[in-house]
Symmetry: C2
Subunit: 489 residues, 2 copies
């Protein structure tokens, strides 16, 4: 059933080398744990991936503590896996080779807010909502908003984005600088607070999206944006997904600087209504948000409304008061969880393709044909202004037929997106689940280059092993590799 | 006099290994040259760096030809230096260890324009003006505009930007994908045409700004933007540089989405008037450009004009007709060359610092105090919306006192910018001239990591040696290294 996932903990037994366990226990006290509940909590994420437990969890509060743990892991040859809030959907926090889960959620200090420069420096465990809370009164906000209230460290590691990316970019565009702990415990500073620089290799953007496999980001400096003078949101219902997608394509091609443009299908709307107690029409729907000056926002909205009407868009409903807007976008953010409630006890097999906008209508139409062929419920929504959409494929992980159907749908949509010059993941990351597509998407040379970079920075493959790249033969004959030997405790 | 530049060709003699010379000559015919004039043309740039000649020049027309040359250079251990139009100002195209200058200017095909997706794929030798010419009629434009009509390959390699960066970003934000030839001749595909992706390490952004030291980009896919419905430009004169800088800071902090905001000092204006036959007031001046809908542009312009007036800005002159605007921005782009004309026979010792906007006024004020202490003419202008400004330090390279003064000014402004959390180079690159500041800016660990990445992709250091990073001991005892041995021909 989990045939695609070669690793599974044979038993819930910590395999940490005893001397390391003693050192960590003495040094970190209660912040160090080998207890099963802690390990189970840190060995799973929001996805369908079965849990893979670390041997221990260390909760840290500073870069210096990350350095200490990294040095010890390096000394003992033990894998080290960064953990934020565990909201990944590609198995990023799982521990297929055991090792230590480094919990950065306690690193939640806002280090500095430079309102005049529009940037903030935060510890990696700060969440996006926490940052926006701290920005109240500054007139600034941080726009990147994946569904979950993820940590900024986790968001940087997976190159996350969300509903605002069409206007404000993704984490790759919004991380200016990092403090990163390398596999051997050295502390790397990347980037800086200048808005642009041509000074050497762009290490910041190499780390953003590296999923904890090249280094562990412990501090980040991110861009902030002035809260627009005027904001208005709207919901519009369409006769078909195809018509809604056409409205998106025309909006983007006209260059309307829309801040958010989200597509949700009928099933997603039904799930939202049930979960969020809303009364939205249960039909293909676009959620819009416009940012700018009052005149600018009005102008954008008129353009889009005219264009939507021509495509059969109806019930153009406006939300201009902040509470209405918040309610609308909270409902959108909860769509993933709302869908999960459609089928009690189910898990989500998520897909995350992104294609050039000119191929979006075709990609979604062909995908709908696939969806019609399977028995499991599948909702479709996404950040279509970027060409990115998700299928929320609801499965019972213990039902082989459902898992087979989910795997089929997922493979089909990925292959279709890659054939259309798109990507297998717009914002979730490769993790464990998309490794098999990396070479298909980027080619053999690109994967070899990625491996060469990994080898250069983490020659023993201790940082978040098995993520992005398949680990090399895990056990070298004759080499002592205590953490991989699961017979001790 | 060139004490800071350790390399100089002892004699204008090609030191290419004879068998390699024969192979290249047979294969490339007249596109291969060891003639002195070709080598001199390819061994110098626009800067004060003394020429350093390659041993030969190969003009290529395709990625396949780049592969052939890279394989041969790898086989013979000969340095390989990419060349576009030679408009670098940090010695990027110079050949301190000799080797082959790979001239990509013949790779000037527009491969594809995807108007509906807002991207274009071009060969690396296409220049920015050529691309914009090809876009006529599509309603799209490519905004990145360094002063020179550089090639897109060269612009990507140096992470270039220009006057539009405050609105449209730099090359790091606008290259979606590359085809890159590695040191060993393998062809690497990076990125893709999807607007966002979380699929693996961001190799595109590692290559952008790598100055030809990690691979040679032969094709690029870049983002395009809709030509704004309305554009207006304006010129405004200020009583002091400080007042002009305050206007910039307030504009940016208010979040006005200005497309261009350029500062020029009195000397730069005098140079422009003389060179471009304009009659602009010879005083500290801001050039603005606003992009958007007619209403949006009017709104932006009103906000900025009100704010400028409060700071003593006068003579707010508008250029709304395309010819007027073009003339204005052509004059701005020619500012560098205009300054060079102020002192016949001089060369420019350029500086290129960029600081957080909150430090810009202080950084410029302290720099003006330094300027007042030297005898050489120094113009100041720059892309101040990003916190980036240049000193155009005019020197006679044969006058030791002038070179000493220039080096002093340059060192002072770089140290000041780094102390203010800025960068030694906002858009020119490190090249030969800024290597000594790389560690100061990014720290020892960052430079070690950059070296590790270089070693991973180009273990013998053949790609554009001595750029960004100092070469390791160039001659390993016992190793035959024909290209570095200048006694053969």
């Amino acid at each position: 059933m989990f045939a695609e996932l070669p690793f599974f903990p044979e038993k819930f037994v910590s395999a940490l080398p005893l001397p390391l366990k003693e050192i960590l226990s003495q040094r970190f006290g209660r912040a160090f744990s080998t207890g099963e509940s802690q390990r189970l909590q840190h060995g799973r994420d929001e996805s369908v991936h079965p849990p893979m437990l670390p041997d221990a969890v260390v909760q840290i509060g500073s870069t210096e503590e990350a350095v200490e743990v990294a040095r010890l892991c390096s000394e003992y040859g033990v894998p080290l896996i960064p953990y934020g809030v565990g909201s990944s959907v590609e198995g990023h926090v799982l521990a297929p080779q055991g090792g230590i889960s480094l919990d950065l959620s306690g690193m939640n200090k806002i280090v500095a807010i430079h309102a005049e420069d529009g940037d903030a420096t935060v510890q990696a465990g700060v969440t996006r909502m926490q940052l926006n809370e701290a920005l109240k009164g500054t007139g600034l906000f941080f726009p990147i908003d994946p569904g979950a209230d993820a940590t900024l460290g986790g968001m940087a590691a997976t190159r996350a984005s969300g509903t605002n990316a069409v206007r404000y970019g993704t984490m790759k565009d919004n991380v200016l600088a990092t403090t990163t702990v390398l596999a051997d415990g050295r502390v790397l500073q990347t980037g800086g607070r200048a808005r642009k620089s041509s000074a050497g290799y762009d290490l910041t953007r190499l780390l953003v999206g590296s999923e904890g496999t090249l280094g562990i980001m412990t501090e980040l400096t991110v861009k902030l944006y002035p809260i627009p003078e005027a904001i208005s949101a709207a919901v519009c219902t369409f006769p078909s997904i195809a018509a809604a997608v056409q409205a998106v394509i025309q909006t983007i091609q006209l260059g309307v600087p829309v801040a958010r443009i989200e597509l949700l299908d009928q099933l997603a709307l039904a799930a939202i209504n049930r979960f969020s107690k809303t009364t939205l029409a249960e039909a293909p729907t676009l959620f819009f948000e416009f940012h700018g000056s009052p005149a600018g926002v009005a102008e954008q909205a008129e353009t889009v409304q005219a264009l939507a009407s021509e495509l059969g868009g109806t019930d153009f409903a406006w939300a201009t008061r902040p509470e209405e807007r918040s309610r609308l976008w909270q409902a959108r953010h909860d769509a993933y969880f709302a869908c999960l409630q459609l089928k009690p006890g189910c898990r989500c097999f998520p897909t995350d393709v992104c294609v050039p906008i000119s191929r979006l209508a075709e990609c979604i139409a062909e995908t709908q044909t696939d969806i019609a062929q399977v028995s499991i419920p599948i909702a479709l929504f996404g950040h279509v202004g970027d060409g990115n959409f998700h299928l929320v494929v609801l499965v019972d992980p213990d039902n082989p037929k459902e898992m087979e159907e989910a795997a089929w749908i997922s493979a089909r949509v990925v292959e279709r997106a890659i054939a259309m010059e798109g990507t297998c993941t717009g914002e979730h990351g490769i993790g464990l689940g998309k490794r098999k597509y990396l070479q298909r998407e980027h080619g053999e040379v690109a994967v070899a280059v990625m491996q060469a970079l990994k080898d250069a920075l983490d020659p023993r493959g201790l940082l978040n092993p098995e993520k992005i790249l398949f680990a090399k033969t895990p056990q070298i004959p004759g080499e002592s590799s205590p953490a991989r030997n699961r017979m001790t405790d």
